[in-house]
C-alpha cells in the first residue's frame, strides 16, 4: 500500500524537476504546470439516445482513473473530451481554453492526446510513419526529431523496427508504438481507453509501466480501465461512472470506505 | 425511432378496408382505365416484382448483386428460344426459363458468393456483361438481331384464352406473379425463421456459421430464388413484348433500376420495393407526359437518388414509418455542413 502512495509522490517529484524533464521532452509548448482538463455538467449521446447525464469531472496530477460497468458511458465521456462525440450540453475546458465545440483535430493541438481502445495504430504504415503522423500538428522539424529521439529512448525496442510495418509487430510492441505516437503530439494530457484490454499479463505490466513513465515525465493521464486491481495501484484520483452519471469521486483511499460501490460497480 | 406517428398507422378507419379497396382497384384496373393504363399497370407490377427479387439478395441477404438483370434477360431468352428456335408454346419456355435460371444461378453462386461487398458487386456485373456480350454473338439468341417471338398466341397452357393475348391478359399475369413474389417474400423472409438466418448472415457471417447456420447454402438458396423470380418476369416480358434484344433485356440498366427501386423504397423490407418500384417506374414512364420531349428527367432522377441517399437512407418506407422526421433531416444537414470544413 505504501508502494502505491510512493508512486503518487513519484509524480510530484517529476513535477518538481519539471525544468529538466520538460526541456528535453517537449521544449516548445510546456511552460508551467499541466492545465486541468475539466468537464462541467456534460450531456451527450448518440442519435436520440442520451448516454451521459451531466458529468462533472476534473483531471488531477498523475493518474485519474475512470471506472464503471460496461455501457456506463466511460468511452463516450472520453470521446467528448477529445472531440469525437459532440457535446449536447455543458462545457469542457482545458486550462483557460474552451474545448466544448472544438473538433478532435484541433483539440490535439492544445496538448491532449488520445490512445483509443486497442491502440489504434495505422497498421499499413511503418513504425516511423506512425510516429510522424503523431507529430502531424508539429511544424518544427527539429522538435520532431528531438521527440522521436526521446520516444526511442523510452522504447528502445522500437529502434530496429522503424521501417517495419506496424501490423508486423507483436501486440505489446504495437502498444509502445501507440504510446510513442501519442508522445509525439507533444501532449501534456493523455486520454487512455483500456490500454490493457486483451493484452497478455506480461504486456499488461508493460502497459502500466509505460503509464508510470509518462507520469514521471510530468504528464497527466486519464485512464479508463476494467482491470481495476492493476489500475488502482497507479491511481491518484478515481471517478466511478454508472448509467452516465458520476457515482463517486475521490482519492483511491476513500474508495475503500464505499463497500457498496466497490461491490456493485467494481466487483471487488 | 423518432416520435412522429408512422403515416401507415394514421390511415383512418380499419386498415383492412383499405387493403380491400386496393385489391378491388388492382383487379378492376384494366377495365376501369383501358389498355394504355393496363400497360402502365403491368409495367409497374413487373418492376415491383423485379425490385423485390433484387431485394431478396441485395436487401435481405446484403449481397450487392449488380448483375441481377442478367437473369431477367436469361428468362426472356429462354422463353424466346424455346418459342422461336424450337417452336414450343410459351409454357415450355416458361419452364425452361425457370430451369435455366436456377441451374445457372446455382453454378454462379458456388464460386461467386464467396466474394463480398464491392468485389461481389463487380464480379456479378462483369458476369452479366459477359452474358450480354455472349448473347450478342451467339446464333441461338439471334445475335445482334435479337429474337422476334411468335405473335398473338391465343392459348395459355393449351387452353384458349377468351380475351386473346392482350395487355389485359398480361396485366393479370403480372398481377399474379407480383402478388406471388410478395407472398413468397413475406412468408420466407418475414415470417419464417429462414428470414432470421438470412439477416443473420448479412450481419455476421462467421457468427451465423458458428450457430449452426449453413451460410453457404442459405446464401445460395436466396440467390437462386431471387434469380428465378427475375427470370420468371423476364420470360413473361418476352412473351408480352414480342421482340427481345440483348441490348434491351440484358442491358445493365435493368439491374440499375432494380437496385434504385429497392433502395429508394427501403432495403430489406417487404413493402419498400413496392413504393420504390412505383415511384421510379412512373417517374420514368410518365416523364414525357410532364416534361415533354426532354431528357430533363435524367438529371432529375439523379438528383432524387442523391437526395434520398443523403437524407433518407432508409428510403420511402423509412419516411412513411416515421423513422425520418424533420429533426433527422436537420441534424443530417448540420453534420453534412460540418464536413465542408475544408480549409
Amino acid at each position: 500500500m505504501s508502494d502505491v502512495t510512493g508512486g503518487g509522490s513519484g509524480a510530484d517529484d517529476a513535477a518538481d524537476s519539471d525544468d529538466a524533464a520538460g526541456a528535453d521532452f517537449d521544449g516548445a509548448q510546456r511552460t508551467g504546470d499541466v492545465p486541468t482538463l475539466s468537464a462541467t455538467d456534460v450531456e451527450a449521446g448518440y442519435d436520440q439516445h442520451q448516454v451521459l447525464h451531466g458529468i462533472t469531472f476534473e483531471s488531477r496530477d498523475g493518474v485519474t482513473c475512470i471506472f464503471g460497468p460496461n455501457g456506463s458511458g466511460k468511452s463516450t465521456f472520453l470521446k467528448t473530451m477529445n472531440g469525437i462525440v459532440p457535446v449536447w450540453d455543458g462545457t469542457i475546458t482545458y486550462g483557460d481554453v474552451d474545448l466544448t465545440d472544438e473538433k478532435p483535430e484541433d483539440i490535439v493541438t492544445h496538448g491532449i492526446a488520445t490512445l483509443p481502445q486497442g491502440g489504434g495504430i495505422f497498421a499499413s504504415l511503418s513504425v516511423e510513419e506512425n510516429l510522424n503522423v503523431g507529430a502531424f500538428t508539429v511544424d518544427d522539424a527539429d522538435a520532431i526529431a528531438e521527440r522521436k529521439a526521446e520516444v526511442l529512448e523510452v522504447f528502445p525496442a522500437l529502434e530496429d523496427k522503424l521501417d517495419q510495418k506496424a501490423r508486423e509487430l507483436s501486440g505489446g510492441q504495437q502498444m509502445m508504438v501507440s504510446l510513442g505516437r501519442a508522445m509525439m503530439t507533444g501532449a501534456d494530457t493523455f486520454l487512455l481507453d483500456e490500454p490493457s484490454a486483451g493484452l497478455a499479463p506480461r504486456l499488461v505490466d508493460d502497459a502500466f509501466g509505460l503509464i508510470e513513465r509518462l507520469v514521471d515525465r510530468g504528464a497527466q493521464v486519464i485512464l479508463i480501465e476494467q482491470n481495476v486491481r492493476a489500475a488502482l495501484r497507479l491511481a491518484d484520483y478515481v471517478y466511478i461512472l454508472a448509467e452516465g452519471e458520476v457515482q463517486f469521486h475521490g482519492p483511491p483511499e476513500d474508495l475503500s470506505e464505499e463497500d457498496e460501490l466497490m461491490e456493485l460497480y467494481l466487483g471487488l | 425511432m423518432s416520435g412522429s406517428a408512422p403515416v401507415l398507422d394514421r390511415l383512418p378507419g380499419d386498415r383492412r378496408y383499405w387493403f380491400l379497396a386496393l385489391g378491388v382497384l388492382l383487379l378492376a384496373w384494366p377495365f376501369l382505365f383501358g389498355s394504355f393504363w393496363a400497360r402502365i399497370g403491368l409495367g409497374a407490377l413487373m418492376w415491383i416484382g423485379l425490385a423485390q427479387s433484387w431485394n431478396m439478395i441485395g436487401g435481405y441477404a446484403g449481397y450487392l448483386d449488380f448483375g441481377h438483370g442478367a437473369y431477367f434477360g436469361i428468362g426472356g431468352f429462354a422463353a424466346g428460344i424455346a418459342m422461336v428456335q424450337f417452336g414450343y408454346p410459351f409454357v415450355v419456355g416458361f419452364a425452361l426459363a425457370i430451369v435455366v435460371a436456377a441451374v445457372l444461378a446455382y453454378l454462379v453462386a458456388v464460386p461467386t458468393l464467396r466474394l463480398t461487398g464491392a468485389y461481389f458487386a463487380i464480379a456479378t456485373w462483369a458476369l452479366a456483361e459477359s452474358i450480354k456480350q455472349a448473347a450478342l454473338i451467339l446464333e441461338i439468341t439471334g445475335g445482334t438481331f435479337g429474337l422476334s417471338l411468335p405473335r398473338s398466341p391465343d392459348t395459355f397452357i393449351g387452353i384458349a384464352v377468351p380475351f386473346a393475348i392482350s395487355e389485359t391478359f398480361f396485366y393479370y399475369v403480372m398481377l399474379l406473379l407480383c402478388a406471388a413474389t410478395m407472398l413468397v417474400t413475406y412468408v420466407l423472409f418475414e415470417r419464417h425463421e429462414f428470414g432470421y438466418r438470412v439477416k443473420a448472415l448479412r450481419d455476421d457471417q462467421d457468427a451465423a456459421e458458428s450457430l449452426g447456420i449453413d451460410t453457404t447454402r442459405v446464401k445460395r438458396q436466396v440467390y437462386v430464388l431471387s434469380c428465378v423470380v427475375a427470370a420468371v418476369f423476364g420470360s413473361v416480358y418476352a412473351w408480352y413484348i414480342v421482340f427481345i434484344h440483348p441490348n434491351d433485356i440484358l442491358a445493365p440498366i435493368v439491374t440499375d433500376r432494380m437496385v434504385i427501386m429497392a433502395l429508394l423504397g427501403g432495403l430489406g423490407t417487404l413493402t419498400g420495393p413496392i413504393f420504390g418500384g412505383l415511384l421510379v417506374f412512373l417517374l420514368q414512364r410518365l416523364s414525357s407526359v410532364f416534361l415533354g420531349s426532354s431528357t430533363f428527367y435524367l438529371p432529375l432522377i439523379g438528383t432524387l437518388i442523391m437526395i434520398t441517399v443523403l437524407f433518407a437512407p432508409s428510403g420511402i418506407i423509412g419516411i412513411l414509418r416515421g423513422e425520418i422526421g424533420r429533426d433527422d433531416v436537420r441534424k443530417n444537414l448540420k453534420e453534412l455542413g460540418e464536413k465542408f470544413d475544408l480549409l
Partner: protein, 250 residues
C-alpha cells in the same frame, strides 16, 4: 482413438499463414465435464486454434476428434449442430435484429417445434438475466450485454462443448463475476468449456486445467497453480506480476 471421457481431441493440429506457423502440431485433449483454460501471449495462436477446431480454418495438418468422431475439416455449421458451440473474441451480435431474433436464428437439427424453440429462448434469456430487453435491437446493447447475448445464442445449440474466446475481456468486474457464475452453473449441469482468457483471476477461478500456448505450440498443461509456477510460462507470459496477487491495493 479416444476413450469415452474425452470430448475433444486434437492431434498434431497445424495451421500456417504463409511463412507463419500459427498452430504448430498442437495435441490437446479435453475431458467431458471439465473447464479447460487456454493462456498464452498475444499472437501465440489461441484464437487460431479455436478457428481451426471449429472449422473456420482448414488445417494444414493433424486431426480433430469431437465426441470420438473425426471432424477434421468439417464446416462450422455442421459442428455447431453436433453440439460444438463457440464465441468470438470480438463480439458479433446480429445488430439489425432483436435479441429474441438473434436467438431464433440459431439452427439445430433436433427437430424442436417452433413453440419449443421459443420457450427455450425465454428460458435462456431469463437464465442470463437479459429477458427484459428481449425485443430490443442488438445494436443498442452495451458491450457487456452483447457478451451475454453471445453466450445465450450458443446455448440455443444445446451444446456439449462450448469454446469461449476471452469472455471477460473488457468486461466490468461485476459482470465478469456474473459470467463466471453462469459458466460454473452450466458446467455443473454437464457442459464442457474451453476458455481463452488473459485475466488470471478468471483463469484461476474457472479452470480445472490450463493449457499454455506459445509461438503456436502447446508448451505446458496442468492445473493453474502448477502452470503459474512454471518458469517458461512466467517468462513468456505472466511477466513480473504475481498472478495470485489478488490483494486490492487500497
Amino acid at each position: 482413438m479416444s476413450d469415452g471421457d474425452t470430448i475433444l481431441k486434437t492431434t498434431d493440429l497445424t495451421k500456417r499463414f504463409g511463412a507463419l506457423t500459427a498452430n504448430d502440431e498442437i495435441s490437446l485433449a479435453v475431458e467431458r465435464g471439465e473447464i479447460r483454460g487456454i493462456i498464452g501471449p498475444n499472437g501465440s495462436g489461441k484464437t487460431t486454434f479455436f478457428n481451426t477446431v471449429t472449422g473456420f480454418y482448414e488445417p494444414d495438418g493433424g486431426s480433430v476428434h469431437f465426441n470420438g468422431e473425426e471432424v477434421t475439416g468439417w464446416e462450422p455449421h455442421r459442428l455447431a449442430r453436433r453440439g460444438l458451440g463457440r464465441t468470438f473474441q470480438i463480439v458479433s451480435p446480429f445488430k439489425n435484429m432483436t435479441v429474441r431474433q438473434n436467438m431464433l436464428a440459431v439452427q439445430t437439427d433436433d427437430g424442436r417445434s417452433r413453440e419449443e424453440k421459443r420457450e427455450r429462448v425465454g428460458e435462456i434469456l431469463e437464465f442470463l438475466e437479459i429477458d427484459h430487453i428481449a425485443d430490443n435491437e442488438a445494436r443498442g446493447m452495451s458491450g457487456g450485454q452483447q457478451k451475454l447475448l453471445e453466450l445465450g445464442r450458443v446455448l440455443m445449440l444445446d451444446p456439449e462443448l462450448v469454446m469461449l474466446d476471452e469472455p471477460a475481456a473488457g468486461v466490468n468486474p461485476a459482470l465478469e463475476e456474473r459470467i463466471m457464475d453462469h459458466i460454473h452453473e452450466l458446467n455443473d449441469e454437464g457442459t464442457t468449456f474451453v476458455v481463452i482468457e488473459h485475466d488470471m483471476h478468471v483463469m484461476k477461478t474457472l479452470a480445472d486445467t490450463v493449457s499454455v500456448f506459445d509461438s503456436g505450440r502447446h508448451i505446458a498443461q496442468g492445473d493453474f497453480e502448477e502452470v503459474s509456477q512454471n518458469e517458461d510460462v512466467r517468462k513468456a507470459y505472466l511477466g513480473g506480476t504475481t498472478a495470485e496477487d489478488d490483494e486490492v491495493p487500497v
